[in-house]
Symmetry: C2
Subunit: 311 residues, 2 copies
């Protein structure tokens, strides 16, 4: 789709799963004249240099953003405010400043006050990920067929939003624009609450007296393992998400608890009809997700099976 670089110089602050995947995909697609990156630890910077994916690895955020036309903060949401404060005096006039955080209202609140007039602030959230983190975890295909949500604050120039949309589209994503507040409600139910529940149940399993951890691990194919994947996500990132999107998460949690009480009561009372009715309804949502290509319908989630050969 792209016919050349969309930005002359792209700066990535942070080179974890998302930063590393943006770099790989942008380079493969030729979307940036030059890609500069930095990372907080010397070890990560060294590893990024070895990987040879970006043009330059620098030591400081200030150095990284110098003359960049697009700056993307690929760091936990709690770090976005301080980094905005740090780079504010060094941004190129006309540059687009973005991020990849999973919460948007708090990022806007934390970053916007620091940003100078003359730069364009277009927060973004690519809804894609794996449970892996670190400089080696990224891959160019991560964003293909996934949504990227842009949440430009009121007053943002439409041209800047469109330019960032073109960039994400070229990375393979489908782009949607909404307000930061609505984003946070949507993600509270589609992502944050599922993660909280998964973290809880994996912790519960770990603490049981009657069943050993080794039994939990062995027999996890009965459903449990699907929870462990998301409960293995980056701890710092998720701590920040729950602190930053507290209100929406607590609201969804309230509804979830009411629904869980209803199902619990049905089990306690032996109300098979209520259970059957509920379980039948939830199948329809799954079908919707598979139909629009957001998951595989292959048996067992597309997990590979060994072959059983005739003996």
């Amino acid at each position: 789709m792209s016919t050349g670089p969309i930005f002359d110089r792209v700066a990535l602050i942070g080179f974890g799963l998302i930063g590393g995947s943006i770099a790989r995909a942008a380079r493969l697609q030729g979307l940036a004249g030059e890609i500069i990156t930095t990372a907080r630890s010397a070890k990560t910077r060294e590893r990024v240099m070895e990987l040879g994916i970006v043009d330059r690895v620098v030591e400081t955020n200030v150095e990284a953003v110098q003359d960049a036309d697009l700056v993307i903060l690929c760091i936990p949401v709690g770090a976005c405010g301080p980094v905005a404060a740090e780079i504010t005096g060094h941004l190129k006039p006309g540059a687009i400043i973005s991020d990849v955080g999973s919460v948007k209202a708090s990022v806007v609140k934390d970053m916007a006050p620091h940003l100078p007039a003359g730069v364009h602030f277009v927060p973004a959230h690519p809804v894609a990920g794996t449970e892996n983190s670190g400089p080696d975890s990224g891959f160019a295909e991560l964003f293909i067929n996934r949504w990227c949500i842009l949440t430009p604050p009121e007053g943002t120039e439409a041209k800047a939003t469109e330019k960032l949309r073109a960039f994400w589209t070229a990375l393979g994503a489908k782009v949607e624009v909404m307000t930061p507040e609505h984003h946070d409600l949507v993600l509270a139910i589609t992502s944050h609450l599922p993660h909280l529940i998964a973290y809880t149940i994996v912790g519960t399993a770990d603490e049981l007296a009657q069943v050993t951890s080794s039994e939990v691990i062995k027999f996890s194919a009965g459903g449990f393992r699907d929870f462990t994947r998301i409960a293995a996500s980056d701890p710092t990132m998720w701590r920040d998400i729950f602190l930053a999107n507290k209100d929406a998460v607590l609201e969804m949690l309230g509804t979830f608890n009411e629904d869980l009480s209803k199902l619990t009561r049905a089990i306690r009372r032996g109300d098979g009809e209520a259970l059957l009715e509920h379980f039948t309804r939830t199948r329809a949502i799954r079908r919707g997700i598979v139909e629009i290509g957001q998951d595989s319908a292959a048996p067992d989630f597309g997990r590979p099976h060994q072959q059983l050969t005739k003996k």
Copy 2:
């Protein structure tokens, strides 16, 4: 591994995901001289005949078990008692009677009183599955590298248990023997509670006023979709499981609720340290599951990605 049929005639009562997978794998491995099956609906029986996987499809359970050396009930656990009562007078002396139910104590309680002396009752639970059901959903590789738990009641002849172990091993499974009661506790945490939670959260998402169903479906890649798979499992089967394993499920649910309250309180109070500590601990369990081959460590769960080609 097998060097010929383990049983002369195998009868499968029910031909859904599990029954159909047993038939396919047993035929591929040559584990049965003859495979007979039946299914409750005429439509399923017709489809099984078309598939041509078994030697004979019969109309009644009584006909199916005639002269069978191994009879496996591949039906929802709630139906096991009535079917045992139906077939009891027609079992071959010395036959092994088994099932594939996800709950074991209640199946033993429901079936054992009906079974005549001279047959061997060895309940089984293959811990494997997908969210699909019906005669077309099975596949021969379903049990490879998955555990199958045998729960022979006290007094069962060891020879019968070993013969069924050999059968499941030849289907590709790893076999473990435990009491029905311990099985039910282990599965309550590794399978039943995860399903209940998944059914709940998918229902919650479906009812929200602030976020539309179409938004939930679109942005499900953030974690939600992992829950929808197990919440799309067969409703009748799962109704029966929760009714049959009520006590163990309610016990695990109590512990889960306490843990969820703790995490909720940490979020409400902004206690980042408590969250980080919990999220770090849960990563270890995931590593254990991947290490012993019960899940894929491939990015994004092994879901296939399209290629991003250089433009």
